[in-house]
């Protein structure tokens, strides 16, 4: 990085401003449309969750049937919110870390619009009863090539930026982002190609689908989340990452272990290799190691600075996301021990709890942190109100804690009831109800929190942010923040 480091601070600032300007529209588009999809997804989650404990709710409406609303909820959460938030953050981080302006904003913006259109069509397809019935791949078959093409058109520029960066230097965050960029198309083409275009044994199709779900979490969403945290932590504290070799170990252990995970959902299913699910279970348990390494390394970065850190919203959300990641590592062990817990959790709601913990408790919190960091820089405006950010943070955190604990713990209760074979089956249905009720309430809280997020983001997008002054911090609302808080 010879040229960049020898350049003056002024030219550095000019470069950063240029990068921010070049990416302003694509990033804001992804973040705002992602936030809108998040709201849609949470609304669908509330409907689906109510139906679990109160099946008469909206019983006459075909399009609100549980079997359609639930897949619509999880698919909009993944492809509507997750991917778009990921795109917005990824293209900005890669441009900043590679010191390259984006020269393809128009293409990215176009692909982003097509992506939204395709996700919309897919969601309508699911609600209209054209879903494929393969978890996380429920969009009708015409959707996946569209998603893949848009993905390539959006992400290839970040890859090129990394390729043409000055010098040989790379950041830990870049490894994770680059890994996610390469793993995802491989996973996506494998799963969709084999399931939609090739024919195999139906059991193997189900196994590939289970592998796809796990790979999407651990080879796309989690790497982006960890990469973002590895970028934000040193930026926010002004301290370097304490151990590069530990970071290297964390990254490569994730790369080696994660592709084996996923098939534990099929334990006891007569696949040709009956050991495959147990291999998947072992890999998922082992995944706790790379996740814990990342958490430890990033936390050490944050807490290594002696002076009291300003309570920035980005740091707040990143810390919460790290807690989510740690909980995810614990849950990966607790849910998947072959011989003890796997048989309890295999067909219980704890699988959903685990996925929501990964997608919302970890990934989304990191993305929120990045949004609170990036948006003021690209809009040249400060966040309007620390109170809105606080509302978003606390309600989101309480909500996800309730869902994660409710579903993870409730899943154990449910699984124990399933295994108690002398009891009638009705007891299994009965023990789930309270946890479903908790989940409904928690999703309502999360929806409430994200209304603030969406409004705040929309204000920034429309240029209604505070034009100048100090950044909006959470602990000094009275001095700095906005007219709105007075």
């Amino acid at each position: 990085m010879s040229s960049a480091s020898s350049a003056t601070a002024l030219s550095d600032a000019t470069l950063r401003a240029g990068i921010d300007r070049s990416l302003r529209h694509p990033v804001m588009f992804f973040l705002t449309s992602g936030a809108a999809w998040l709201a849609v997804s949470i609304l669908l989650a509330i409907i689906a969750s109510i139906k679990v404990h109160c099946p008469q709710f909206m019983d006459d409406c075909e399009y609100a049937s549980y079997g359609r609303v639930f897949p619509a909820h999880i698919n909009t959460l993944i492809y509507g919110w997750g991917f778009q938030a990921g795109f917005g953050v990824l293209i900005w981080l890669m441009a900043r870390m590679s010191h390259q302006e984006c020269r393809a904003a128009g293409t990215i913006l176009t692909a982003g619009h097509v992506w939204n259109l395709v996700v919309l069509l897919g969601t309508i397809g699911i609600l209209d009863g054209r879903g494929t019935g393969m978890p996380w791949m429920e969009f009708p078959a015409f959707v996946w090539p569209g998603l893949l093409l848009c993905y390539c058109a959006i992400v290839v520029w970040s890859f090129i930026q990394f390729r043409v960066r000055d010098g040989e230097r790379s950041y830990v965050a870049q490894w994770y982002l680059l890994g996610a960029m390469i793993w995802f198309p491989w996973v996506f083409i494998t799963a969709n190609g084999l399931l939609f275009c090739a024919s195999t044994h139906p059991l193997m199709a189900a196994a590939i689908n289970a592998w796809f779900k796990s790979a999407l979490i651990f080879l796309f969403f989690i790497p982006i989340a960890i990469g973002t945290a590895y970028y934000l932590a040193p930026k926010l504290t002004g301290r370097p990452i304490p151990s590069t070799s530990l970071a290297k170990l964390g990254f490569w252990s994730l790369a080696v272990v994660a592709p084996w995970a996923g098939m534990q959902k099929l334990a006891g299913v007569p696949l040709t290799g009956v050991f495959l699910p147990y291999l998947g279970a072992a890999a998922t348990v082992l995944l706790a190691v790379p996740l814990a390494i990342a958490v430890a390394n990033i936390l050490r970065t944050i807490y290594s600075s002696e002076e009291k850190l300003p309570k920035s919203p980005a740091l707040h959300f990143t810390l919460a996301g790290l807690m989510g990641l740690l909980l995810l590592a614990v849950a990966a062990i607790a849910l998947n021990l072959p011989g003890s817990s796997l048989k309890l959790t295999q067909f219980s709601i704890s699988g959903y709890g685990f996925e929501i913990l990964a997608l919302y408790g970890c990934f989304s919190f990191m993305m929120f942190g990045a949004v609170y960091f990036i948006v003021p820089r690209i809009t040249c405006r400060e966040w309007v109100s620390s109170r809105l950010i606080n509302m978003h943070f606390f309600f989101s955190a309480y909500g996800i804690v309730a869902i994660a604990f409710g579903a993870l713990f409730g899943g154990f209760i449910q699984g124990s009831a399933q295994e108690a074979w002398l009891q009638p089956w009705e007891t299994v249905t009965d023990v789930v109800r309270p946890y479903a009720a908790v989940s409904t309430f928690a999703w309502c809280v999360i929806l409430f929190s994200n209304v603030f997020f969406f409004l705040h983001l929309a204000m920034m997008w429309l240029g209604r942010g505070r034009p100048c002054g100090a950044p909006t911090l959470l602990d000094s609302a009275a001095e700095h923040a906005a007219p709105a808080s007075h």
Partner: protein, 239 residues
């Protein structure tokens, strides 16, 4: 770090697992070897032909489109993976009047004719691997006056209509039925309830396909010795 070794490292670490966990099993399971029957153990020579009748493809499509797999599984796991073999009538009937104990583990041949095995995500509802056998047994227990298909239609139309399942959380699939005015003779497909003097309730083609698929849920047919993991009879009796 330069890009080339990085990508090679990723390709090696991911590619190995990808090959061994996805691609090789995919190819191995593409065409399962047919099981040859032998005279001594199976009582007949030839090749094992698992039988499944019903509209499997159409029914599985309706099953998938309406998300039944979210709450119902279709697998009786071996005892090392769970207690499915013990739960009453999950893996077959413990006391079938003709065949005795028909319980067995689900095998790969039970999914014949489907493109995607709906193993299922959760068991919010009961396992369906042998639901048709349970419904048949329920009909037989009532003295044979009934039809398993009619029980399925009634459950799909309103899962909480039957007092025995009034606490069910299953969604009702009323949109799979149509109400029609009776012209002349009432249809023999009409449901025994829900109609009045002038109208009757008919299952749609989707409902018929789904029920046909569910009626094929009898994953307890006899299997050749090579697939039979039940403990040998005399030992079971001695215990």
């Amino acid at each position: 770090m330069s890009l080339r070794p990085f990508i090679l490292g990723l390709a090696a670490s991911f590619g190995l697992a990808w090959l061994l966990v996805v691609i090789v099993p995919f190819i191995m399971m593409r065409n399962l070897e047919p099981i040859t029957l032998t005279k001594e153990t199976d009582g007949a020579a030839g090749i094992f032909y698992p039988k499944r009748s019903g509209r499997i493809i159409n029914g599985a499509k309706v099953y998938a489109e309406n998300g039944c797999y979210l709450c119902h599984t279709q697998v009786a796991r071996p005892t090392y993976a769970g207690n499915d073999m013990y739960r009453a009538d999950l893996a077959g009937l413990a006391k079938d009047p003709e065949r005795g104990d028909t319980r067995r583990e689900t095998n790969a041949y039970d999914f014949e004719g489907e493109t995607f095995a709906q193993i299922g995500l959760t068991r919010m509802g009961p396992d369906l691997a042998n639901v048709a056998r349970r419904f048949e047994a329920a009909v037989a227990a009532k003295g044979g006056g009934g039809d398993p298909a009619a029980m399925f239609y009634a459950h799909l139309y309103d899962p909480r209509r039957n007092p025995e399942t009034r606490k069910s959380t299953c969604p009702s699939y009323r949109f799979l039925f149509t109400r029609r005015e009776i012209k002349g003779q009432p249809s023999n497909e009409a449901l025994p309830f829900g109609g009045d003097a002038t109208t009757e309730l008919l299952p749609s083609p989707d409902a018929k396909a789904l029920v046909s698929y569910l009626l094929a849920m009898k994953k307890d047919q006899p299997v050749p010795a090579a697939l039979n993991f039940a403990p040998p009879e005399p030992k079971a009796a001695a215990r």
